[in-house]
Amino acid sequence: MINFILNGQEVASHAKVNDRLLDILRTEFRLTGVKCGCKEGECGACSVILNGRLVNSCLVAMGSIEGSTVMTIEGYCETERFTVLDKAYAAVSAVQCGFCIPGMMLASECILAKNPNPTDAEIREGISGNLCRCTGYNAIVEAIGIAAKEGQGLW
């Protein structure tokens, strides 16, 4: 049994130590907001927040997460910070096909958690591990900038 905290809940998984966190989240916990785009750490669609840091869950072995805290979009959705980002993304229609978006949202959170007033260049750097083939990124960068302004004090 591997024990960890998933979206605020203590959970135990039957996973083998070399299973991917990505697969376990999707199949055992049915958290399908975590997307698989490449399974090679290149696209960021599978991003989760692991112990406060953004990671590609396709590169994390279950054996390494005993005692860790994992947050996926499903858990992040319940937060006030999500609400601010959600509104900002909606205001600029930053969501197109949506496949990169759960990962982008978690990346947005990590950027703002580290630096509540990022410059555009810092935002771009912060999401550069998350590919988006639809938007050209401008709207996403803008949305994160808006959230930073609107969410003063939250981050």
């Binding site: 290149e42 229609s93 949506g98 990169c100 083939r133 639809c134």
Partner: protein, 705 residues
């Protein structure tokens, strides 16, 4: 700005941002089996023998013998086998599928299957192909005479490479039998294409097939025809196992074996007399890969654009799409136009240098105006906004000044700026809309006075759910929230044609507007009502004749001018994009945010095509750039300064004045980028992608020279 252009919250925003939206791989059904394809590892061979291991209970091997209907996928010419027969024609051609309750044993079985091939010599180079799949020619004026009488004839060849759609969600389909029917659902653009193909492969009546589009993680053309192939294979497996079967590709499989943009080689011969361009003789060659798929229509669009936006009175265009033993190519945003627009824009640029004038000046001299003839002797019926777009680009970038100033540079860092002007024909090519598609769209008013949009076009990220609902709500004069739309399900929606060719909003959106206008007049509160509309070609259109390749290939055009500025580091051969500017005319935007998103996303995809998206096969016909670490697409830091502007140029026959939008922004990025590289490097360039390796070659050549 028009009222309709004001942005609203997208219909699918909430489901997607919260991670609740279900894509095909997120669905799990009771008793579902998982499938994987066994593919040819030879580019051209006869399959002599297939040796199967013993199968555990509940596992199946599915192949050509299980295809109850016709073992061909219905696309255009129906030559793609559902599963290979005696011969395989490319590395990756599906031979059989293994399905079972768990993937690991499925993969083990795949490894244990032994296939014996009798290898043949493959044709990999399109220039050496002796099988011409499609061949179209057209001409006007007297090209032979102007060539004879020319003071000079300039000849050049241009090449473009593959482009991989690289949608973030890979291909995936689920098929399940029930009540004597087969339901197929998945990541796809064109439900009725899949419907027709699956019925044919299973040998079922049309009514026995249901196709549902799941939320789709991007398509860009890659989910136009390809899902029909996977759907046939999956449905055949589901029928054999009598259980739901799901097949989702992994990234490498998706990159290596699904269709991508046609590589091209174009040769231009341009006659010049007394400093004037008197004619162009153009040869276009597209690599179709092993099967025909959508190549005839891709080639048609490419040929129609071959002379760009220029008035060329004596013109001959010949085009061929040829067979090679490589992965079949297909639809990709722009559909043949990015290839020929690249060639013609570069040709004009090189001509200008040879004639000793500025390239923009030469382009301006020949660019078409309203009322001029199109390449195919049709007509530009509406205002051509190129002059004001050029003016705006110059204001934004100081283009003319910079272009001159960058001509004489020394030192390690050198800058360059390039410009392209282009159009994208709105809607299906030629008479396709009138003769083949015959779109139907419906709206239904429920007893509670909510209104549902019923059309077969899918929202694959381009915002169609939102724009369709806006058109209907606004026309009816009711709240946007009162109008809704579900993902298309062929049991519920009529065939409004495919989600392609920059046609959904202009053509189907137009039908919805008409339907809504009619419903408004007949509106009966508290009652259920249905209104249906059928496509009618606008009166002004000069009918297109495919045999003669003459007439209006499109009712109207979307226009654009792009400029790109680069800085090349001559020591490392790397390039930074300092800025990318695009002015776009898509008629009236039905939602400004959505249009801006389309323009920015498409433009960046085009810059990727131009600069970094390198894909090629080796001498065995195997595509090597099969992962996102080998095939690089732009990230958020690659083009931080990307600016797009929309100009207002309403189209009288589009809904609220809207035209086609989705493909336009990709078409002109490549020539603008490569012109900028030329400006920086002081050389004539003729290929995309133009990568750092290419830059290095130029720099070294210059050093040696």
């Amino acid at each position: 700005m028009e009222a309709i252009s004001k942005s609203t919250k997208k219909k699918d925003h909430e489901a997607k941002i919260s991670g609740r939206a279900l894509y095909v791989d997120d669905h799990v059904m009771d008793g579902m089996l998982y499938g994987r394809l066994l593919r040819s590892n030879k580019a051209r061979a006869r399959v002599v023998n297939i040796l199967l291991p013993e199968l555990p209970d509940g596992y199946y091997v599915v192949d050509k013998n299980d295809v109850a209907g016709i073992n061909r996928v219905h696309i255009v010419l129906d030559d793609t086998p559902v599963f290979a027969e005696e011969n395989v024609e490319y590395v990756g051609e599906p031979i059989l599928m293994v399905v079972g309750p768990e993937l690991k044993p499925v993969e083990r079985i795949l490894h244990e299957i032994v296939i014996t091939y009798e290898e043949q010599v493959p044709v990999l180079d399109m220039r050496k192909s002796d099988t011409v799949f499609f061949n179209y020619n057209y001409a006007k004026g007297d090209i032979d005479q102007v060539m004879r009488e020319a003071d000079q004839v300039f000849v050049e060849t241009f090449q473009t490479g593959y482009q991989e759609q690289a949608y973030l969600e890979t291909q995936g389909i689920i098929a399940y039998p029930h009540d004597g029917r087969m339901t197929v659902r998945g990541s796809l653009q064109c439900p009725y294409y899949v419907h027709g193909a699956v019925a044919k492969a299973l040998g079922y009546e049309a009514q026995a097939i249901q196709v549902i589009q799941d939320v789709t993680g991007g398509g860009f053309g890659g989910k136009e025809a390809f899902p029909s192939i996977l759907a046939c294979q999956t449905a055949v497996a589901a029928k054999k196992a009598n259980k739901p079967v799901k097949v989702v590709f992994d990234r490498r499989e998706d990159m290596e074996f699904t269709s991508k943009r046609h590589p091209s080689v174009c040769t231009y011969k341009v006659a010049v007399k007394n400093g004037e361009i008197t004619g162009m003789d153009i040869e276009v060659l597209f690599n179709s890969g092993a099967y025909t798929t959508l190549s005839p229509v891709v080639l048609q669009r490419g040929l129609i654009c071959a002379n760009g936006v220029y008035r060329i009175e004596n013109l001959r265009v010949t085009g061929r799409a040829v067979k090679t033993n490589t992965v079949p190519t297909g639809a990709y945003r722009g559909f043949g136009a990015p290839q020929t627009f690249f060639a013609v824009e570069m040709m004009m640029d090189h001509l200008a240098k040879k004639l000793g004038i500025d390239s923009l000046e030469l382009k301006e001299k020949y660019m078409v105006r309203q009322g001029d003839e199109t390449s195919t002797s049709g007509k530009y019926h509406f205002h051509v906004p190129l002059p004001e777009m050029i003016k705006r680009i110059d204001e934004l970038t100081d283009y003319r000044e910079k272009r001159k100033c960058y001509q004489q540079q020394t030192g390690r860092y050198r800058k360059g700026i390039g410009l392209s002007m282009f159009f994208h024909g709105c809607g299906f090519t030629g008479s396709g809309e009138r003769d083949m598609i015959k779109a139907v769209a419906k709206i239904r008013k429920n007893a509670d006075d909510t209104v549902e949009v019923l059309a077969s076009n899918s929202d694959i990220g381009q915002g169609l759910k939102t724009t369709f609902c806006k058109i209907v709500a606004d026309t009816l004069g009711i709240a946007y929230d009162q109008v809704y739309i579900d993902n298309p399900d062929t049991d519920r929606v009529p065939d409004s044609g495919p989600t392609v060719a920059s046609r959904s909003l202009m053509t189907v959106g137009g039908l919805l507007q008409r339907a809504a206008a009619k419903l408004k007049q007949e509106w009966k509160t508290g009652q259920e009502q249905i209104v249906e509309e059928h496509f009618v070609e606008p009166d002004f259109v000069i009918p297109f004749n495919l045999k003669e390749f003459k007439g209006d290939a499109y009712p109207t055009y979307s226009w654009s001018v792009n400029a790109i500025e680069v800085e090349v580091d001559t020591l490392t051969a790397t390039t930074k994009v300092l800025g990318a500017w695009g002015i776009f005319d898509v008629g009236v935007p039905i939602d400004l945010n959505i249009i801006q998103g389309q323009m920015q996303g498409g433009f960046l995809q085009g810059i990727g095509y131009a600069s970094m998206e390198q894909m090629d096969y080796n001498d065995k016909g195997i595509i090597r750039n099969n992962s996102l670490s080998d095939y690089i697409i732009p990230t958020a830091v690659d083009v931080p300064n990307l600016i797009t502007e929309i100009i207002n140029n309403p189209y009288t026959h589009g809904p609220y004045g809207a035209k086609g939008a989705g493909e336009l922004p990709l078409v002109g990025a490549a020539p603008a980028y490569v012109e900028a590289m030329e400006n920086a490097l002081g050389a004539d360039l003729n290929k995309v992608p133009f990568t750092p390796e290419d830059t290095m070659r130029i720099l070294q050549g210059a050093d040696q020279g």
